[in-house]
């Protein structure tokens, strides 16, 4: 392909984009936009949000007895706010985040520290001023860690640096773990590992760390096996040398055998499985999910919203929604190949890792193949901070993509 031809085709495309985005050449250059906006991915995203609204309308109908539309209105409001954030983040040149590396890190850590000390919540200090800083910290730390790795790209093969970078992530992760919020801290760990892997960190160190973690998980389950007499008896208290609370350990234990504490810790998972399974091929119909509408399944508009989808809409629709999710996430992931720089690639991999882990953990939990950790299903579970930060995360991918190499 000759340079001229490429030029002319570029011109044609830009002309098209100009019509679509109504953005002047000047604005585009100022904002570093070289690439066309991916309307297909955005369409999938919009479709996903539309489905989430429908699901929320039935899932939250009985969540508040005197105002059945409360959660639906809040959900729609958060989507609206999130869309504003989406536009702003998309238009902002992601490369300028590198300038805030130090300040950003300090802000995130301080915010998490404040939350840890002054935060409120049911059994954990997760909220402050009505927001969940740990949710925002997830996206912020992806960007910061990407910038950090980008800055130290040449040292990636040094074992010392790999450990150092883990320490960099360990501080906010630890603060969240202490809230306590096991689920979110697990997201941090997974994101960190994926980003280090994509960045090409020293293989030996990387492998060793993964091995240690796997061993730690194995030890926890073996210990639980012993303490619960083969997953039959409830734990009487904390296990001294495992830094997890009793309820967190119980959640891990009932993952193996939900019936060992069927009316307390195991109740959610048992009822969720009943909800999912009883949906059958075609579901019980919109608003007719007996598990949901009869309140047998608690927290069905937040953590267990996937059970609502499967109970009321059945296998075909639920599988279609999962496919929609997958295609959307793969298309986001695909943009990593076309990022303009290392920083952009890492951001996209981090965000993809975050999304896929949350989806897999949440859906897997509802179906009993993952332990209960209280992670929301992105875009579906009710929660303002989660919705806005997830939309910002998607916007970040678009921001990288717009400034990436040509597809």
């Amino acid at each position: 392909m000759s340079t001229d031809a490429r030029k002319s085709s570029d011109q044609l495309k830009r002309a098209k984009q100009k019509r679509r985005l109504h953005m002047s050449q000047e604005t585009r250059r100022r904002r570093g936009i070289y690439n066309s906006f991916d309307w297909v991915t955005f369409g999938l995203f919009a479709l996903l949000l539309l489905v989430s609204v429908i699901v929320m309308s039935t899932a939250s109908a009985n969540a508040m007895s005197d105002d059945s539309g409360y959660y639906l209105r809040r959900h729609l409001f958060m989507i609206a706010v999130g869309f504003g954030v989406f536009v702003a983040v998309t238009l902002f040149d992601y490369r300028r985040y590198k300038d805030f590396l130090t300040q950003g890190y300090i802000i995130v850590c301080v915010m998490l520290l404040i939350t840890l000390i002054f935060g409120t919540g049911d059994g954990a200090n997760r909220w402050i001023f009505g927001v969940q800083p740990s949710e925002a910290a997830k996206v912020a730390m992806i960007v910061l860690f990407a910038a950090y790795l980008d800055q130290n790209r040449k040292r990636l093969k040094e074992p010392k640096f790999v450990l150092q970078s883990m320490g960099y992530m360990a501080i906010p992760t630890g603060l969240i773990f202490m809230e306590p919020d096991l689920g979110t801290s697990l997201v941090f760990i997974v994101v960190m590992l994926v980003m280090l892997y994509v960045a090409g960190a020293n293989r030996r160190v990387f492998g060793a760390v993964i091995g240690i973690m796997a061993a730690f998980i194995a030890i926890i389950f073996v210990t639980l096996f012993i303490y619960t007499k083969g997953f039959n008896e409830n734990l009487s208290g904390d296990i001294p040398w495992i830094p997890l609370h009793r309820y967190q350990l119980m959640r891990l234990a009932i993952f193996i055998n939900p019936d060992m504490d069927a009316l307390n810790t195991g109740y959610h998972i048992i009822q969720s499985k009943i909800a999912v399974g009883s949906g059958g091929l075609f579901g019980k119909g919109y608003g007719n999910g007996t598990q949901v509408q009869g309140n047998f399944l608690p927290e069905h508009h937040t953590d267990f919203i996937f059970s609502v989808i499967s109970e009321e809409f059945g296998f075909f629709v639920t599988a279609a929604i999962l496919c929609l999710f997958m295609v959307f996430l793969l298309r986001l992931m695909n943009k990593a190949f076309f990022a303009r720089d290392f920083f952009g690639t890492l951001i996209i991999s981090g965000i993809s890792a975050m999304m896929i882990f949350q989806v897999f953990e949440n859906v897997g939990m509802a179906m009993g193949i993952m332990p209960v950790t209280g992670l929301p299903l992105p875009f579906f579970s009710y929660g303002g901070t989660s919705m806005i930060t997830n939309m910002a995360a998607v916007a970040l991918v678009f921001s990288v993509s717009l400034r990436g190499r040509k597809v």
Partner: protein
């Protein structure tokens, strides 16, 4: 759409990154495949399983209990009915803090309000039944049991010593004398109690009212002790239901108390989460222990019953008849039609939410009330028969006399007018659930109060069986005027001994119950003739009465002997015929068989099937089925011969030499009965052959135009004329309208007669003679007896 697009012309470093990105990319696909696969497994493969679990979450089937049918006597008196009862239930899955709830419930159950309501309810129960008396008896029995155990140890030592001295003949398997004496005391307590209550009805407002009040208060005092319940006990009950979505019944209360509790619970729903008070019917028998054996008891369905009855729609925890009519008509099929006392429970299927609020009624199936029964029983006669039987047992003077039974049959239909068995059963106790005291009483291995002795117990019937022999003699063509000499010279072995009667014809023989006459006549006509008449009377076979657990008894035949004996005894010998002619030897009869026999004589050979239930009614009182008299067998004999038999039996009660003369004097001439006494040797090891005899009496009245036939056997009652015949007289009096007033006279009679016993009787004196003889005759000689 998801086709991976990869840029061209990347650098080496970029290629490496792209490779790792590709791994992540594929990893995402794998994760989603896992999720969709799991979804498919749960919703499609295991879908049905989860649907049923989901259904069991939301659908609750509420049983709408069917009202059990009412049982009436022939005059419409209620004998058994279902009263509403209240049970306090808890749904444990609705309760967050079981401990706190247990605390609250324990406080509630022990609160003053509940206590007061309970007290007034208990008072009502105490007044309408005599169950407390029975509890008292059981208490005594309990104490005696312990004492007897203690004494048994000592006894053993003594016996061991005696055995050394060569004098050990006592049978350890029988009751020890002390125990017998104490059981006698217990029976006497019942007697006194019933005597005092009947006295009270007589004197009404006098001192009796006070004593009754005292008794009731004492009873309440003993009952309130277990109305208190501790938190721990409640918690234990609640904990049995953890993990279940079904209700746990914590306690049941009478209707009034239940209403009080329901009000308290409704006022403080926060204090009592998951607590419901629901109404349930409970069986109630307003006449207490009267007719208890015939009515039977109800109780929770047993495993074996459930196995049989599941196909009729019975389910676990159903209350079903366990004995008597309650059991017989629990599920009764006749002519392809099914009748059932219990009816068919209805069901209401409701949809509930997680807090058990009813969202919707899915379906409702109304309960079908059970069928009611109208019995042939006459309650008044029944009560007098039972009272009389108890008095006679208590006054028998033999410590072994603890039981007995009697039956009165309408000779025209075969319907049972009254049927008594002692010791008594109060079915209310079973409906309410037995206390430990009551268990001691009802499961006492010697008293056996639960056994309906009229149909389930077999005894040698003694001389009353001579009516069978008498019939056979006439049937064989023997003239009633043929005479047999009964004197010491003719008492040759193996003939059983007799009193001296001189020359006796048929009439004298029946009246005086001459052993020699019947033995010799039986030998003359042969055992075949005797057995065939016996079978026609229904001996050795079930009478076919509509009550469960009837026994056949035994009418020995040469075949039976050959099969059940060894050696010499395999053959039928002449003495077998002798003993059979007097209802001894291997003969075992039931009281209902004897009553049926008396009715057959009264009917000139037509034997009707005895029955208790006249009609089966629907819940509105319409007759669904009524029983017609059913002829089971007919003994062909000339009317003249039947008249001869009746005349002879009339002689028993009216003739100068009759064994039961003067007894029925108070019945006027037209009501004069015909009867036959019997004093049966028990044939049991350890019994004194001369004094430990069953008192038996059969009869019918009026002799000229029979209406009812009677049979009674008093265990260890001694001479039939001195025990069973009294029950007969009282029963006939009650039946023919000698009401309550005469009750008192009857009692006086009894005590007079028992005190005058020795001087009054001449036949008895002969017994003393025979006692002397007894020492040097063999076993067969001892077996014989007479009055």
């Amino acid at each position: 759409m998801i086709k991976l697009k990869r840029p061209q012309g990347a650098t080496v470093a970029q290629e490496k990154i792209n490779k790792r990105l590709l791994v992540i990319y594929l990893f995402i696909i794998v994760l989603f495949v896992i999720l969709v696969g799991r979804l498919f497994f749960m919703q499609v493969v295991k879908g049905q399983e989860y649907v049923s679990r989901s259904d069991s979450n939301i659908y609750r089937t509420i049983t709408l209990p069917a009202r059990r049918g009412t049982i009436y006597d022939r005059n419409g008196n209620v004998l058994a009915s279902s009263q509403p009862y209240m049970s306090v239930q808890v749904y444990p899955n609705e309760v967050e803090d079981l401990d706190a709830l247990a605390d609250q419930l324990a406080k509630l159950f022990s609160s003053d309000e509940v206590f007061e309501a309970e007290q007034s309810a208990r008072k009502n129960i105490a007044q309408s039944s005599l169950s407390e008396t029975i509890a008292n008896v059981s208490k005594q029995v309990q104490e005696q049991k312990k004492e007897a155990e203690r004494e048994a140890a000592e006894k053993e030592k003594e016996q061991a010593e005696e055995a050394k001295n060569g004098g050990g003949t006592a049978d350890t398997s029988a009751l020890t004398p002390t125990e017998k004496a104490r059981l006698g005391e217990a029976a006497a307590a019942v007697k006194q109690k019933s005597a005092s209550s009947s006295a009270e009805t007589e004197e009404e407002e006098n001192t009796s009212a006070e004593t009754e009040e005292d008794d009731i208060n004492a009873a309440i005092g003993s009952l309130t002790a277990n109305t208190k319940i501790s938190k721990k006990e409640v918690l234990e009950i609640l904990e049995t239901g953890i993990g279940s979505y079904n209700a746990i019944t914590v306690r049941t209360y009478t209707y009034e108390v239940g209403v009080t509790i329901a009000e308290i619970v409704a006022e403080n729903p926060d204090l009592y989460p998951g607590v419901y008070v629901s109404e349930e019917p409970m069986r109630s028998y307003p006449n207490g222990y009267y007719l208890g054996h015939v009515l039977g008891t109800v109780g929770k369905i047993t495993d074996t019953q459930l196995e049989k009855m599941t196909s009729y729609g019975y389910k676990i925890s159903d209350i079903v008849g366990q004995s008597g009519l309650e059991s017989y008509y629990e599920h009764y099929t006749e002519g392809g039609k099914v009748f059932s006392l219990s009816g068919q429970d209805g069901h209401r299927v409701v949809e509930v939410d997680a807090k058990n609020n009813i969202i919707d009624v899915i379906s409702e199936e109304a309960p079908v009330a059970g069928n009611s029964l109208e019995l042939t029983i006459d309650l008044n006669t029944q009560m007098h028969m039972e009272d009389s039987l108890k008095r006679v047992i208590a006054g028998a003077g033999n410590p072994k006399a603890i039981g007995g039974s009697a039956a009165l049959i309408d000779v025209d239909t075969g319907g049972v007018v009254a049927m008594a068995s002692a010791p008594s059963v109060d079915p209310n106790d079973f409906a309410r659930g037995l206390s430990s005291e009551e268990i001691d009483y009802y499961f006492h291995e010697k008293l056996k109060p639960q056994m309906n002795r009229a149909i389930t117990a077999g005894y040698p019937s003694g001389s009353t069986f001579k009516m069978v022999t008498a019939t056979a003699i006439l049937k064989a063509g023997v003239s009633p005027n043929d005479t047999i000499v009964c004197s010491e010279g003719s008492w040759a072995l193996p003939l059983a001994k007799c009193h001296w009667h001189g020359g006796v014809n048929f009439y004298n023989a029946v009246a005086a119950s001459c052993n020699i006459y019947f033995q010799k006549m039986a030998a003359r006509i042969g055992e075949e003739a005797l057995i065939s008449v016996g079978l026609q009377y229904g001996f050795g076979k079930k009478s076919g009465i509509d009550l469960p657990s009837e026994v056949t008894g035994l009418l020995p035949t040469p075949e039976w002997k050959a099969q059940n004996n060894t050696g010499w005894e395999k053959q039928w010998h002449i003495y077998d015929t002798y003993y059979m002619s007097m209802g001894q030897g291997a003969t075992v009869d039931t009281v209902i068989q004897l009553a049926s026999c008396a009715a057959t004589i009264a009917n000139h050979g037509v034997r009707l099937r005895p029955y208790v239930c006249q009609s089966i009614l629907d819940d509105e009182g319409n007759v669904l089925k009524t029983r017609e008299p059913e002829v089971v067998d007919t003994i062909e004999l000339d009317d003249a011969d039947w008249d001869t038999i009746t005349e002879a039996m009339r002689g028993v009660v009216s003739d100068g030499s009759g064994t039961a003369r003067n007894l029925f004097g108070s019945l006027s001439g037209t009501l004069m009965p015909a009867g036959k006494t019997g004093t049966a040797q028990t044939g049991l090891a350890g019994d004194n052959l001369e004094s430990d005899n069953h008192g038996v009496f059969i009869g019918f009245a009026p002799a000229d135009n029979p209406q009812v036939a009677f049979a009674c056997l008093v265990e260890y009652g001694g001479a039939g004329a001195k025990s069973a015949a009294y029950v007969c007289r009282d029963t006939f009096r009650a039946y023919f309208g000698y009401d309550v007033e005469s009750n008192i006279i009857l009692m006086d009679d009894l005590f007079v007669s028992s005190s005058q016993r020795d001087s009054d009787e001449d036949d008895e004196e002969d017994d003393e003679d025979s006692e002397e003889e007894a020492a040097d005759v063999n076993r067969y000689d001892l077996l014989s007896e007479d009055e």
